[in-house]
Symmetry: D2
Subunit: 347 residues, 4 copies
């Protein structure tokens, strides 16, 4: 089958690879009908990935149809239309029962397509271990574009907003308006934020956030504008959806006393320069982390189904698998007002 394979910095190619093989009786194989490129895939693309190796199939956002199930799979059958969320766990512990694969009691949290251990889903098909724990049925009424955003971006944004502790009436800032940031804007509004400041250097992205109900802010005086609009106090909650040192520092500067900052952008700096003196005076709460997609879906699916979270504006580009290299290039370059890029392996 065809799949996108990582071969080194800026070198992702569409190639012929072996068909996926289920690892055991609890596994399934899903024929991929749509796959997403995630902002965290760009870390790999730029050669700053999560594994030292190359030569593996990338991608951790997929929607498709079950084409094979092991005899131990109870909840899915051939023909089911499913989400393949970004990661999975052992499938047998209490944490996995609750969908919290990131804290799997058996330490078996695994993400697709971030190294050779588990092949990714930017491919015609993907093998899914612990299928009952991994997969989720896509309900009638949710289309492929919405489903792709439910495999990672929206749950990650929601998780970040939830950990930030957003309560009705709060003022919120979202730093970075890529797909996760835009989802964070929508999440904050559903949680009852009175105002959301949507911060990005790109005007097009700010305009999309404004269509969702946010106030766009950008440029060098971002901090001053946000402080001024909050009577000098800063915002109650900040969601950082970039992962850069500078944007995290901006986020910390925007929070009010006893406010919180929740980082969902990927930052792998082992020596981030953190200002404890400032954090103490501001009594900050600082949340960093990885979402367990399966744990957030029971809340998010009804919100997407009823239209309370509008994902209609998120996807800006669609490519075939064979155009994968170009898709990555364009997304990395932020060209053509790109927001979410989707790959269509059926094309």
């Amino acid at each position: 089958m065809k799949a996108l394979v990582y071969h080194g910095a800026e070198d992702i190619r569409c190639e012929q690879v072996d068909d996926p093989q289920p690892q055991d009786l609890d596994s399934a194989v899903v024929r991929v009908t749509r796959a997403g490129i995630c902002g965290s895939d760009l870390h790999i693309y730029h050669g700053h990935g999560f594994a030292p190796e190359s030569g593996y199939v990338v991608g951790h956002e997929a929607v498709g149809e079950v084409v094979e199930v092991g005899s131990g799979v109870r909840r899915f059958a051939v023909g089911d239309r499913v989400l393949v969320p970004a990661s999975t766990g052992c499938g047998r512990c209490l944490a996995c029962d609750h969908g919290h694969v990131a804290r799997c009691d058996n330490g078996m949290m695994r993400a697709f397509g971030i190294g050779p251990a588990l092949a990714g889903s930017q491919s015609e098909a993907v093998a899914v271990p612990a299928a009952d724990c991994s997969l989720r049925t896509i309900p009638e009424g949710i289309d492929d574009k919405q489903a792709i955003l439910l495999t990672d971006n929206l749950p990650t944004a929601w998780f970040g907003a939830r950990r930030a502790g957003i309560e009705p009436g709060d003022t919120v800032a979202v730093v970075g308006l890529g797909p996760v940031g835009l989802c964070a804007v929508g999440s904050a509004l559903v949680m009852g934020a009175s105002r959301v400041f949507a911060i990005d250097l790109l005007e097009d992205r700010r305009r999309h956030a404004e269509l969702l109900g946010a106030e766009g802010v950008g440029g060098d005086d971002t901090k001053e504008i946000v402080l001024e609009r909050t009577q000098g106090r800063g915002v109650d909650r900040v969601i950082e959806a970039v992962g850069g040192d500078a944007t995290i520092r901006l986020a910390l500067s925007l929070a009010r006393i006893e406010g919180s900052v929740s980082v969902v952008g990927v930052n792998q700096n082992p020596h981030f320069d953190f200002n404890m003196a400032l954090a103490m005076v501001k009594s900050l709460s600082f949340h960093i982390g990885l979402c367990s997609v399966q744990a957030e879906l029971p809340t998010l699916i009804p919100l997407v189904l009823s239209g309370r979270i509008d994902l209609g504006r998120m996807v800006s580009h669609r490519f075939g698998l064979s155009e994968g290299a170009e898709a990555y290039r364009l997304f990395a370059a932020r060209e053509d007002n790109v927001r979410k890029v989707i790959l269509d392996p059926t094309r």
Copy 2:
């Protein structure tokens, strides 16, 4: 001055009464620019009020201007534009500090205009005890109509929704779409409800709820419709905003297993027939109660200011004080697609 005085069932008259006298140095006098008629005023109007006496000035929703302050008042000065919320407390205990006047530690919770103890505010002016605890400044950007709804209806609806425990993604039913019910629809949506079923016999009221984002349901098969739309499970949370025995029973029937019912309608039946067997099988939570307006305002004011809670459609009628009897009659009769009725003592 002129004021509306209760003289018995269906007999509320606009009369000349003595000007308000501050009781002590902690009191203020507010010249009323707008007063609301609340659904609970209809209990008094129909002769089922909260005190046996008659001859007192009614009304507990007022907006106006401070015209006199005692020397003990710290936070308000003559000329301030203020809300006069429905009730107040001692003003010196911890509960009052937090705005929770309903559970005043000194047992001094008092509502305006529900008996002779504290004259009401459907009048040209009202004396306000414990003014620092009672009053709230109206921020720039909130108009008189919005302000009137902030004195009781919206905080009551919000309190009910909050106690129902609405969380993002929940399905919600609101039973009764008078002003409090419409505010409850808006509150549930701001709290993240995925769907709100807005239940009333009057089509015009359902239509207003639909404009806010709810799904109108009415008629004899209300229960069946709601169950069908929730896959037979019932809704997560129900807010009852009527106070009738039958509507409370309907509310209880709509809740799912481990769901909750929050009654904000006034029901004074000391022998309500409660089905414990059903409540046990459904593991229900049943909340009944009176809102401390002051405790809800810090959350609600930013939400009204930013437009997240839209009160624009609430007020349907405005009358002068001298037309008070007609205002009550029309509101009680639910004539002319009435929603919220406001009195204008300056007219």
Copy 3:
């Protein structure tokens, strides 16, 4: 095998019945080493049970050893020492994944031994449907007596305390000091109650509650004593662990303004006389319901293991199965300072 069979009011007999047959491949059979008699079994004993039939095996609290598993059972093997909690669900829905069998999405919540549908566990062995969902492993360090209390009484008490909303510093009253009530005392203290008023007519039961850290109160002036010790305010949270109309009414009278009452005693009165006027003035929250044992165990097992919840004093009597009739009689009569009665089918 031998089992206790219900034959009508006050007529429970130890008889020879067929050995348990697993219903399907997801079932297991557990050899019972200890079984508990629950307060709710007394409803059956007195002829006020949950099913009209007789002739079924009773009991829903069991500890034992897995002796047979269907091929669909993943988490348990022959020889495992297990808890058999009071009820189970379909085992395949999201609610069941979270242990919330009482709100099983497929409406398959079933309790053991309360009718002919699912044979009880006061027997030498019991068939357990949906074994992966039903059973829980007993960790090293928890003995049979503790384990029996974990199958129903302690989780029920904890659930009631949790729903009452106990927070650190709260004052709490527990009405009724049978095994569930004593567990509720311990639960309230672990949740941080500053004071627990333990209410029962029997002095011996009050004394046991006092050993746990509560203040015993009994007799006709219970309400007055509790009000006096709370400066006339009433307690923050009340747990009712009897299920009688009078005790529920007492519970309602003890709660402070904006307090809560959580009923875990079984009351099946379809016409409970509920004072809405009082509930409104007091802004009460009233919780009624059935516990999903499996959902509470992840919290409770560590607390029992570390000794924070001390179950050592709970069990007062142990009988063989053949003495079952006498065990029921004594427990129903509250004779001999009885607290928890345990049956030993191995004797």
Copy 4:
């Protein structure tokens, strides 16, 4: 009057200073009967204080008797026995109403004795601004030693434990067993921790924590021991009560995936080296901050009154004001199994 004055590193002297002068009509003067030396006073003592100046009166933990009140003080009268918590606010904003002086809306949060702006309370008397907001009445049943611990150490520990998000059943580690750390052990237990690992190098301090119910851990293999006792997972919640870079790093290493670390020790390092890569993999929540004592007292006072939080073992030494230099020296040197040091200005 006599007071302890800071003159530079390791140079605190008992001197004659001017009697305190109330700043305005909202102020009071309190004659100090006991004052505490706080761990954060040692930052000043070692020359790493919060203000560049010297020559000011130190101390921010005091208990005493009101001897003078301005005409604007409503809640206190001469003769009242009061707590003087560590800091205060404007006394007129919503945050101050709720006791949250640290986030005073008017930015007027001020601590006693950390600079020349507001004279400290290690003196015979102290002037208290915004007295109604600052002071709290000491209820009957709370002695001076308990009261001193309620002015800062216990509320700080409780605040830290609360922000860590301790829930019943959690495993907790407390790093550092000075007075705040010992109070954190007690707080965690009242919040329902199943196990508390109490970490300090000094055996005597660990022994005191063990008397409260914790498991003492110390030495180079602290991390390994805690991991081993938690099946390799780490603890749910960590409270850091030292403020050192190394101890904060230890705290971060002890938390499990999705765990939290709450720092209540004072760390003023503007360049703390924070491992974002680790924090992301562990999905950590990191809380840093200053407690608003007044906001925590309504919960803590009942817990101390009823004995649920036992402060009896905390105070180890008492000195007169004239022995202040020696008191500081001994506390800084951790000599003589010192825990809490109290100064007695009446001696």
